[in-house]
Symmetry: C2
Subunit: 382 residues, 2 copies
């Protein structure tokens, strides 16, 4: 096991009705004026916006609205929100939505206190040294952003989907009410399942130091995602399945399963970010296409762990059957496994490969992910 | 899944050489004068005391020594240390040792800022509303105290082994260097294994709300403890096994596996605390005696979960075989499974039962743990 430091200061307030406490949480942190970020107007129709504004008002907290954040959130939107945050001198950012809204809120929180263009923080031109406190009410469980210091944003001008990582943008409080997720569409549920599985397996398969304890925790997460996704497809109102899915999703990317591991990378995310950046496909849908293709290409580098996966997740006899079982499971739940299902054809491969190679430099794994390797992986997904 | 709030602010600094950073961690929290708590003089002979004092000196931090804390730490000792902490006006408490030293340090941290006798905090006469910041260097992995807000102390006058629970006594920083644990005796290693298993199964078997995700995480912990204990018995210098054992031990009682569960209790601890309080047996040794006896008495109340345990931990076919497998495993590693091995005879049962019944009231489970029930469980352990 490698040396590590683990410090996750986010408070999780989990369960039914917890969104009514948001005003109190902000008040406990001395917040008087907050930027309220959200996506579509759905939260205004379903009553959540009303609940939040009442709770804020009850604690004397003023809020500035910033709606319209989309999936694969955009740099231009983040820049707009930063201008608004500065203009109104808010002292915190509140995200009401899923991972895209929350990642935008984190970027706004860091960008507002950075004396320059926020994209500098994504390309390593400057470090995040401060951020407004971030709070969130999560309405979609997938990204794990509610309990980590990461945020991913797409620069639509350069077609780059890049990230920041900083202890300053860990949410102070994340409210996770599984009942708010009941209206998530069937598509987004299965894309989310693929996303959580992706977070779990990146380290599991690629780490050069991967203790058995950590592999067991990863398998606990994946087996829970499989079981609860199937339960939710059968009955979207199954609160307990929704709750376990959400909490497993948080555990997949809050740092725990990566403690003490070493030498890992995020190749599936690296490849998928090109698909999202170029074709604006849902992140999870891109991942379920990339993962089986990548596994077919990669498994010979870590056969013992691929055998372990086959046995402990699918009760399968060998590596090939384990990979096939995951691909079949993606097919079964209805998340794509082929580029064609995303509307991406062979003609799109050259541009895709270029974008992936740019990501590979950004992710620091360009040596392994050569032009030829990336082409081979993408061809597995045709 | 039940509603919950999870907030674990402890920073874990894990790995080889990390104890050299202790001065820096205290300095980052503005500490200038600390009470340094420890157990035997072993840390002076093996160089750890020297490392710690040099690191503190390098950061200009003065320390007051308080040694001699024993296993099943005593209230009288805690009171002495509080007097010392007050007299020297220290602003933090540093524990260098295992769970007994750390629990004492937490009691001192809370007691120093309480205007009355510290035992009041253990019997619910007063609440912990403040505490000096607690830091620790862990030299034995078992209790999980390095990442939670609990502390257990024995009142030798009343023969009561009671606890405090407060967010104020979560350690600010816990240093866990598995290499420092290499000299733990064979006996204390196997007692620790029983302790970690006890922390994992109390909720697993007794909770009325126990999601499958949580059961999987518990099984990940127990299977890791079994595997690494056997590895360490074969080779005490196996760093990786020591590291996984330690980290699994932390996860067993840092709140994670209890999030969203409900209706659970700690009956094995309730019974064992009587054995420690009356006969001063090592806590883990008492637990390995109590657990199989308790399981034989309890399993009919939750047969599905006992079957799950049998299957997922020991690959056993049914409840009885699962319980027998755990008892045999305790026998195999050499931790006691009979009261007689602790020097406790049938003549001691009446006094033991009285003490357990007092604990049952304290633990709030007196209705189920009647005199007859406790007698039956203890007789299983004769």
């Amino acid at each position: 096991m490698d040396n590590f430091t683990f410090h996750n200061p986010t408070k999780i307030d989990f369960g039914t009705g917890k969104e009514q406490q948001i005003g109190q949480h902000l008040a406990e942190h001395g917040i008087r004026k907050v930027l309220l970020c959200y996506g579509s107007d759905r939260i205004k129709r379903d009553g959540l916006f009303d609940t939040v504004s009442k709770s804020l008002a009850a604690h004397g907290i003023e809020f500035i609205e910033f709606g319209g954040i989309v999936s694969n959130p955009l740099l231009s939107t983040v820049r707009e929100a930063i201008a608004l945050a500065r203009g109104h001198r808010v002292t915190a950012v509140l995200s009401v939505g899923g991972g895209s809204v929350l990642d935008s809120a984190k970027a706004v929180a860091a960008g507002t206190l950075y004396d320059g263009d926020v994209w500098d923080l994504f390309i390593g031109k400057a470090a995040v040294t401060a951020a407004l406190p971030v709070f969130d009410i999560l309405t979609l469980a997938a990204t794990g952003s509610e309990m980590n210091g990461g945020a991913v944003v797409t620069n639509e001008a350069t077609r780059e989907k890049f990230a920041i990582q900083s202890p300053h943008v860990f949410p102070k409080v994340s409210i996770v009410n599984p009942a708010l997720m009941q209206t998530v569409s069937r598509d987004y549920l299965v894309y989310s399942a693929a996303d959580v599985i992706a977070h779990s397996i990146e380290g599991y398969f690629t780490a050069t130091v991967q203790p058995a304890f950590h592999s067991r925790m990863v398998e606990a997460i994946i087996n829970t995602v499989i079981e609860t996704t199937e339960a939710l497809l059968a009955n979207p109102a199954d609160y307990d399945a929704r709750a376990q899915f959400a909490w497993a999703s948080t555990q997949a990317l809050n740092g725990l399963i990566y403690t003490g591991t070493a030498g890992f990378s995020y190749p599936n995310h690296m490849i998928e970010h090109a698909l999202s950046a170029l074709f604006n496909v849902p992140h999870g849908a891109g991942l379920s296409v990339v993962i089986p293709a990548w596994m077919k290409w990669y498994h010979g580098r870590n056969p013992a762990q691929f055998e372990r996966f086959a046995r402990h997740v699918f009760g399968a006899a060998n590596v090939e059957q384990g990979i096939a079982a995951l691909e079949q499971w993606f097919d079964k739940i209805g998340t794509p496994t082929r580029l064609s299902q995303l509307g991406i054809t062979e003609d799109d491969l050259p541009a895709t490969i270029e974008n992936v190679l740019n990501n590979a430099r950004y992710f620091g794994i360009a040596e392994l992910y050569t032009r030829e390797a990336v082409a081979t992986i993408l061809r597995h997904a045709l």
